[in-house]
């Protein structure tokens, strides 16, 4: 029975991921360019593209959690503010964290690597969705803070890249700086994957003996101002935000 389960997950993940890739490609090659031509209004194109991404990632969760290839559990979804204005700061153990997050956050801003922006396929999607490029750090900080202030929600991974399993998270300062500049409300999300799959340096086709269980805990939102009020160090306020997040991500005090 265990073996059967393992084999099923092998078949599921080796067939399923490429299948998902194909759906993604069709989307990118056909639908988005078509939409980009048909819809002249940038704002409408953005809303529709994001809705499409959201639906597609919902499908991903449905098709991987449903047939029990992996299991995905969300907690604390009630902390999301549908009206927006939240800076979603998530830990980053796996390749599909953003997929899982976008499956429950319909219209949010994301920062996309410049390499992806320039990719002819993915770049077209990211541009249609009006995501933010990380090319110029100064512009990125300004743009992120401006969009938050304008009332949209933004997802950032403060680590900047996937964490290395077993090592303490290395939080970069960009996300914290954006939080401070926008005087934002932070929605922290702690993501765990046990046993670890799709981690840094792990091949995508690795199938563990036990089913991988994803747990995404959305924690009670906190205002940056409240974090800073409790901060008595001389250092820049951005360190207060990182200090706060570090404790959440490592589970040291709550």
């Amino acid at each position: 029975m265990k073996l059967l389960n393992y084999l099923w997950r092998c078949v599921g993940s080796t067939l399923f991921y490429p299948l998902f890739g194909v759906i993604g490609l069709v989307n990118c090659f056909l639908v988005i360019p078509l939409l980009s031509v048909l819809i002249r209004d940038r704002q409408r194109l953005q809303v529709i593209t994001r809705a499409l991404i959201h639906r597609q990632f919902q499908l991903f969760v449905l098709l991987s959690d449903g047939p029990r290839i992996i299991s995905v559990e969300f907690r604390g979804l009630e902390w999301r503010n549908p009206a927006g204005g939240q800076l979603v700061l998530a830990s980053h153990p796996t390749l599909i964290d953003v997929v899982l997050l976008l499956s429950v956050l319909p219209q949010v801003d994301c920062v996309v690597k410049e390499g992806v922006m320039r990719n002819p396929v993915l770049g077209a999607v990211a541009r249609a969705a009006n995501y933010i490029s990380n090319r110029d750090p100064e512009q990125m900080l300004d743009e992120c803070a401006a969009r938050l202030r304008a009332g949209s929600s933004l997802i950032l991974f403060p680590e900047g890249t996937r964490s290395i399993a077993g090592e303490p998270p290395k939080l970069k300062l960009g996300a914290a700086e954006i939080a401070v500049r926008a005087d934002a409300e932070i929605l922290p999300v702690v993501i765990r994957c046990e046993p670890q799959i799709l981690g840094k340096h792990q091949p995508w086709y690795y199938v563990p003996r036990k089913r991988a269980e994803f747990l995404l805990r959305f924690l009670e939102p906190i205002q940056v101002a409240d974090i800073l009020a409790a901060w008595d160090s001389e250092r820049q306020p951005r360190y207060a935000v990182n200090d706060y997040l570090y404790k959440l991500y490592t589970g040291n005090s709550r």
């Binding site: 110029d136 750090p137 100064e138 900080l141 300062l173 960009g174 820049q236």
Partner: protein, 73 residues
């Protein structure tokens, strides 16, 4: 220009003036952080009116690198 950069580092980023040399590593030895680096870049842009490209900025480690990266006046 070197003097201006030194002044900014000392006044705004609390860097010890004695530690600043052309070749001291800004991030490791002078202990400014990445966001300070961006700040510094913004100020240099205001002073010189020229912008250092993000690609060049990424490579900057020392004040000498920074001066080299500044576009010629």
């Amino acid at each position: 220009m070197y003097a201006r950069i030194k002044e900014i580092l000392v006044d705004q980023f609390d860097v010890d003036a004695g530690a600043i040399t052309m070749d001291a590593n800004l991030y490791d030895e002078l202990e400014i952080d990445s966001i300070d680096g961006v700040d510094l870049m913004v100020q240099l842009k205001q002073i010189t009116g020229k912008k250092i490209s993000p690609e060049a900025f990424k490579e900057v480690r020392t004040i000498r690198d920074l001066l080299d990266a500044l576009p010629d006046q």
